[in-house]
């Protein structure tokens, strides 16, 4: 009896996700022109960085990074960044400020699931577009080819999924601060500024001053971009490097999950006390 009930609860949950993803995808289709522009912008930034490092490395390798290494690295950045983007704080901020949270709170599903489904519906197709462009580029530009190693690719996929989960929870939990303040999105932008350096977005972390790298290792930033990119491009090789990377991801995932639960329960209580 209870097994039947459990299975049917799971089926309902799967059905809810399928429909949430479907409607998110249909809405994305309505905004395909905007999405194409965002996608282009997402690619432009790593390409500019690549252009700069490409000319810096004209005279030879920089700290062991050849021109080809930079090319692979920034192609990886474009893909991983697209797959791990987080815009949820702006959505939540709007839901709370404009009263759109109300109907979401009267539905029998927590609002976070709508955001997760929205993320999957957006990222899966756009990441495929970037991957296709990468494969296209690799056919005539050997520099951006990465060796065929299915095991490492599988690990890279796991690292990307974990990175996406950390960034999502980070953005969602920060966005929920809108229950208290109208400045929640400003906090997200501050984190974004830090992440440009500390996550390896404008340069591989190993090229940054050692003090900055050490500081970054105490935060989640390297684990959400630099680590998955380096798994993908083959810079991460030793078991120790894998263990540190996945270990860091697991710890930060747990931390942001706990912070989300904390902010959600307290924020919900506050919302119940003072309204939107």
């Amino acid at each position: 009896m209870s097994r039947v009930a459990t299975r049917s609860a799971f089926a309902t949950f799967r059905d809810q996700y399928a429909e949430l993803m479907r409607s998110a995808f249909l809405i994305d289709l309505q905004y395909r022109a905007s999405i194409a522009i965002w996608l282009l912008w997402g690619i432009t930034e790593p390409i500019i960085s690549l252009g700069i490092w490409w000319s810096i490395a004209a005279g030879g390798a920089v700290d062991g990074y050849t021109r080809e290494d930079f090319a692979r690295y920034f192609f990886g950045v474009a893909l991983v960044n697209q797959a791990t983007l987080s815009w949820d704080a702006w959505n939540i901020d709007r839901w709370i400020r404009e009263g759109e949270m109300n109907f979401r709170l009267t539905r029998p599903i927590a609002p976070i699931h709508e955001a997760i489904a929205d993320n999957i519906a957006y990222k899966a197709p756009t990441a495929v577009i970037i991957l296709t462009a990468w494969i296209g580029a690799a056919t005539f530009w050997p520099a951006v080819r990465i060796p065929f190693e299915p095991g490492r690719w599988a690990l890279a996929i796991i690292a990307i999924v974990l990175a996406a989960a950390i960034r999502f929870l980070n953005g969602y939990a920060t966005g929920l601060l809108a229950f208290w303040t109208t400045r929640a999105t400003a906090l997200v932008e501050l984190q974004f500024g830090l992440s440009l350096f500390l996550s390896g977005r404008i340069a591989p972390l190993s090229l940054l001053p050692p003090q900055v790298v050490r500081a970054a290792e105490y935060l989640w930033f390297p684990y959400v971009l630099s680590f998955p990119v380096e798994v993908l491009t083959g810079t991460v090789t030793t078991g120790g490097q894998y263990a540190r990377g996945f270990g860091g991801q697991a710890i930060w995932l747990a931390i942001w999950l706990l912070l989300y639960l904390l902010v959600w329960t307290r924020g919900r209580r506050r919302y119940g006390a003072v309204g939107g």
């Binding site: 429909e19 409607s23 809405i27 309505q30 109300n102 109907f103 009267t106 119940g272 006390a273």
Partner: protein
């Protein structure tokens, strides 16, 4: 018959930031925030039987929406208890949410960029409605609300009235036991208001749903509810039959006129009490049963450009019923007597 909604001594007190005007005041409020307590809902108790339709009336800021938000579990009361559809709204969780629907007239849950059909599909999944139930209920709602091909047009292209009809359909697919409606006819044209009233009545008759609605419009109340709750400044002033209330107030109608000729105030007094006179516009108050006759006479005797017969606004009903001055009723809710100003907790 089981009770659908029970509210016992519900109260809601908000802390409102007090700020002196000007930049100095703004800076002072930053450095040392002060709060004033405002009692939005004050010791409200009532019970509604299953299948009843009850209207919650009151001017803006009276506490209607706050009460509805407490009964739907969105807001926690400062004190008091409630039971809705057999659940506690604040601890009832998803089982509770499955049994209610909350439609806010000024907010939408339809997916803005997609046809309403997509919101229906989404709600089917969210509420776990079986495919067979979905087909039957969807067909019934499409028929009763005369949705036709509206459900295939993007929601953003629908008129306000069309959107509200689709909102109602989306909110009823899981067949809630209790339906909360906050100003469902707000801003709609007369035809759309009428469709929604007729629909709600028919839906309640067919499914025995309990309806608690708030409204500014007397017509919503007369069409839908036999019982009204009147709330003002957070306090429940009246709970009873609508007919009793109408008997209690002077049963009047308002005739709004636009005249094409100059008619003196004294001349208009022959047809009824002149409540408002600003040529070419004038408003007359006449006993309800004489409204039609007075209108006919006005149209025959005078050059009338436009004439409409209306119910007195709800503020006026409350004013008449409770002998308050209009100014008082329309004023913003005032802080409670035992207002206390205190510093924010650290």
């Amino acid at each position: 018959m089981p009770t659908a909604i029970v509210a016992t001594g519900l109260s809601k007190t908000y802390d409102v930031k007090v700020r002196d005007p000007g930049i100095r005041g703004a800076l002072a409020a930053l450095a040392r925030p002060r709060y004033r307590q405002v009692r939005a809902v004050d010791d409200v108790s009532f019970a509604i039987e299953r299948g009843d339709a009850v209207a919650f009336l009151g001017p803006n800021g009276a506490g209607k929406t706050t009460t509805l938000k407490m009964l739907t579990g969105l807001l926690f009361p400062s004190s008091g208890r409630a039971q809705v559809a057999g659940c506690d709204p604040w601890t009832g969780g998803n089982a509770f949410r499955q049994r209610i629907a909350f439609v806010l007239g000024n907010k939408q849950q339809l997916l803005w960029d997609l046809p309403p059909e997509e919101t229906f599909r989404l709600n089917r999944a969210i509420y776990g409605v079986s495919a067979a139930d979905y087909t039957t209920r969807r067909a019934e709602l499409v028929e009763l609300l005369v949705l036709g091909d509206l459900i295939d047009k993007p929601a953003r292209q629908l008129s306000l009235g069309e959107r509200m009809k689709c909102e109602l359909a989306a909110a009823l697919l899981h067949q809630p036991e209790v339906l909360f409606l906050d100003e469902p006819t707000l801003g709609l044209d007369l035809e759309a208001q009428q469709t929604i009233r007729t629909f709600l009545g028919e839906y309640r008759r067919r499914h025995g749903a309990t309806i608690l609605l708030t409204s500014h419009y007397m017509a919503d109340v007369t069409a839908l509810a036999s019982r009204v709750l009147i709330i003002n400044r957070g306090r429940l002033l009246y709970d009873g039959e609508l007919s009793e209330l109408v008997a209690r107030i002077a049963p009047i109608k308002r005739i709004e006129l636009v005249l094409s000729e100059t008619v003196s105030r004294a001349r208009l007094e022959e047809y009824g009490t002149v409540a408002h006179y600003a040529p070419p516009r004038a408003t007359l108050e006449v006993p309800r049963e004489l409204a039609t006759a007075a209108s006919t006479r006005l149209l025959t005797d005078l050059e009338v450009a436009d004439l409409s017969i209306q119910d007195p606004p709800i503020e006026e009903v409350i004013r008449i019923a409770f002998g308050e001055t209009e100014h008082d009723v329309l004023a913003e809710p005032e802080p409670v007597a035992r207002t206390d100003v205190r510093r924010a907790p650290p």
